[in-house]
């Protein structure tokens, strides 16, 4: 399975940025950012549902805060990874970095997908949790 293609399709479903999206694809950055977007939520949510597993934190707003935190993490990962890698790429070619707002927009899309993925993961893994199986609902 071509993970790069899979994540590219996912991200570009929401927005395609001329040149920027191609660079991300060519540098295989979709794989790094996409895997972080999928795997970090599953690890953090598993900890929430099975290690913390607490009545103290089983309200819907606790879950929402956690997901917002995950979105912020994803935004930072997407922004820093894409900016650092593409800056390095263009620096190697002695060219000026041709993108500005694209980093922010792409990171926002990554955060949005994190929200979706976190929700889906929650719906899948919550049922085994003693105290949080009804969180967020």
């Amino acid at each position: 399975m071509d993970l790069n293609l899979l994540f590219a399709n996912l991200y570009e479903l929401l927005a395609y940025f001329d040149g920027f999206s191609d660079d991300l694809y060519d540098q295989n950055l979709y794989i790094t950012i996409g895997l972080c977007m999928v795997l970090i939520p599953v690890v953090v949510l598993a900890l929430y549902y099975y290690a913390v597993n607490s009545v103290r934190f089983n309200k819907w707003w606790h879950w929402l805060l956690l997901v917002v935190f995950l979105c912020v993490i994803s935004f930072i990962i997407a922004y820093s990874t894409s900016y650092n890698e593409l800056s390095y790429l263009y620096e190697q070619q002695n060219k000026e970095l041709p993108y500005a707002t694209e980093f922010f927009s792409f990171s926002l899309i990554n955060a949005l997908w994190t929200l979706v993925v976190s929700f889906v993961w929650s719906m899948i893994i919550k049922w085994g949790s003693k105290n949080c199986r009804r969180t967020p609902f």
């Binding site: 913390v52 597993n53 607490s54 009545v55 103290r56 934190f57 089983n58 309200k59 003693k130 105290n131 949080c132 199986r133 009804r134």
Partner: protein, 469 residues
């Protein structure tokens, strides 16, 4: 298992029945298929009677929604309480709005009989209104109560009596109604040939508790109730019981209980104001019935007394004997936790918990009749517990507070243990344990699931926090 017909005579009879109902609600084991309370009290408006009858009706209403097949762990409300007479009361005829001399038709008697009556009864006795009972006069009671077998209800009781059913009689010895009613009732049960199933009733396993003085009343010249006479009345009644009850084996098991540390109550001859606070002696009198339920019919009369391990004015579980402590501590603590949970947590809070959502226990359920009746019983249970702490000899096994940060600072003499492996404490820990229950707590109707759930969770909590099994 058999039914136990429990005759509660007079105010003490009703108050002991109240304590018994609280014990059964909390799940204290009683080896009986059902308890059939029968209250005998001429005081139709007695506060104690009314309160007990209401409580027992509520108990029966709750229990009717539950089932207790062998798979179920729940012991709350396990023993059936059956109402076979209206308001559990055995009606007494001609005791309302009539003076004692009118009841006996003294004016219609011959002069010789009138002279005899005047010798046996004071003018105060003869002029006493029986609407509120016999006001501490057993000589009056012994005349008026000599009519048990007249009522249709008593005949129904005899009709329904089956082999192996038992009879238990609760009475005080220092008042009017109980002191006179007990020997009369016993005589009727043992010797009356005009009742149905007379052989079964005559030979039934019959036990009784005779409550000796355990409180006193304020001196009041206008009242016929005088606690200065309690001991002398108890002495003469005991002598009578020895000659007429114990020696001829009319009774199978006779329990005695008393206390020389006595609270002083307001002097009240009867009526709605006769509503004494619950007392440790009444609780332990109810335990006599639990003991009786577990016993076989002895060949000769057995006499038992109750005592505590250490003499103190503030009795906690540790002061009770091993057997009594074993029967009471776990059940009462579980039901106390259950009662406090519903009383101290908002509906909105627990509606969000998985244990409620999983079982579709929604607002309609929590606003329904079952929970409303349960809350009434539980509130009464908490009041009953706090009433016992106000007595001169207080039964005060629990720290009574409404501090949600110290939910498990509850059982005196036991420091709650730390529960490891969870971030939850207090009511969060309670919810945690509710959320963790499965199996039978998810089968049956919602009421059944609710009772099972709380029984299992409180059972786990009392083990984890107090090491009570």
């Amino acid at each position: 298992m058999s039914k136990i017909y429990v005759f509660g005579i007079g105010g003490t009879g009703s108050r002991v029945l109240r304590s018994l109902t609280m014990l059964l609600a909390s799940g204290v084991e009683c080896k009986a298929k059902a308890i059939v309370p029968i209250i005998i009290d001429p005081d139709s408006a007695a506060g104690d009677v009314e309160r007990t009858a209401t409580l027992m009706k509520q108990y029966a209403e709750i229990r009717s929604k539950l089932n207790f097949d062998s798979k179920k762990a729940n012991c709350f409300f396990k023993t059936d309480i059956q109402e076979t007479m209206t308001n559990f009361r055995l009606p007494l005829s001609n005791t309302q709005d009539v003076l004692f001399d009118g009841y006996m038709d003294v004016s219609g008697m011959s002069k010789e009989n009138q002279a005899l009556v005047n010798m046996l009864f004071s003018q105060k006795n003869l002029g006493s209104d029986m609407t509120v009972g016999f006001k501490g006069n057993p000589n009056v009671g012994s005349v008026v109560l000599n009519q048990f077998d007249n009522s249709e209800e008593f005949q129904n009781f005899a009709n329904e009596f089956t082999e192996n059913d038992k009879i238990f009689i609760i009475s005080s010895i220092f008042g009017g109604t109980g002191a006179s009613g007990f020997p009369l009732l016993l005589k009727t049960l043992r010797t009356n040939d005009d009742i149905a199933n007379k052989n079964l009733v005559h030979n039934a396993h019959i036990g009784a508790i005779t409550v000796l003085p355990y409180f006193q009343v304020k001196q009041d010249e206008n009242s016929q109730v005088d606690s200065a006479t309690f001991v002398s009345k108890a002495k003469s009644a005991l002598a009578y019981y020895e000659r007429n009850i114990s020696k001829n084996n009319e009774i199978d098991s006779l329990y005695y209980i008393a206390d020389d540390t006595r609270t002083t109550y307001e002097n009240c001859e009867g009526g709605t104001n006769q509503k004494n606070n619950a007392h440790f002696i009444e609780l332990m009198s109810a335990m006599a019935l639990i003991d009786f339920a577990n016993s076989e019919k002895p060949s000769t009369a057995v006499h038992k007394e109750f005592g505590i391990e250490t003499d103190t004015n503030e009795v906690i579980f540790e002061n009770l004997g091993k057997v009594t402590k074993g029967k009471l501590r776990k059940a009462m603590t579980q039901f106390n936790l259950f009662s406090k949970y519903l009383a101290e947590n908002s509906e909105l809070g627990f509606l969000q918990q998985p244990w409620a959502k999983d079982r579709a226990m929604d607002k309609t359920f929590f606003d329904g009749d079952f929970i409303s009746t349960l809350e009434k019983v539980q509130l009464d249970y908490l009041i009953w517990l706090s009433e016992m702490t106000t007595q001169q000899r207080a039964f005060t096994p629990y720290i009574i507070h409404r501090n949600s940060d110290k939910v498990f600072d509850l059982v005196k003499g036991i420091s709650p243990k730390r529960v490891w492996g969870t971030f939850d404490s207090n009511y969060n820990l309670f919810n945690n344990r509710l959320n963790g229950q499965s199996g039978e707590s998810k089968t049956g109707n919602k009421e059944q699931q609710f009772a099972e759930l709380f029984y299992l969770a409180t059972q786990q909590l009392v083990k984890e926090k107090f090491n009570i099994e």
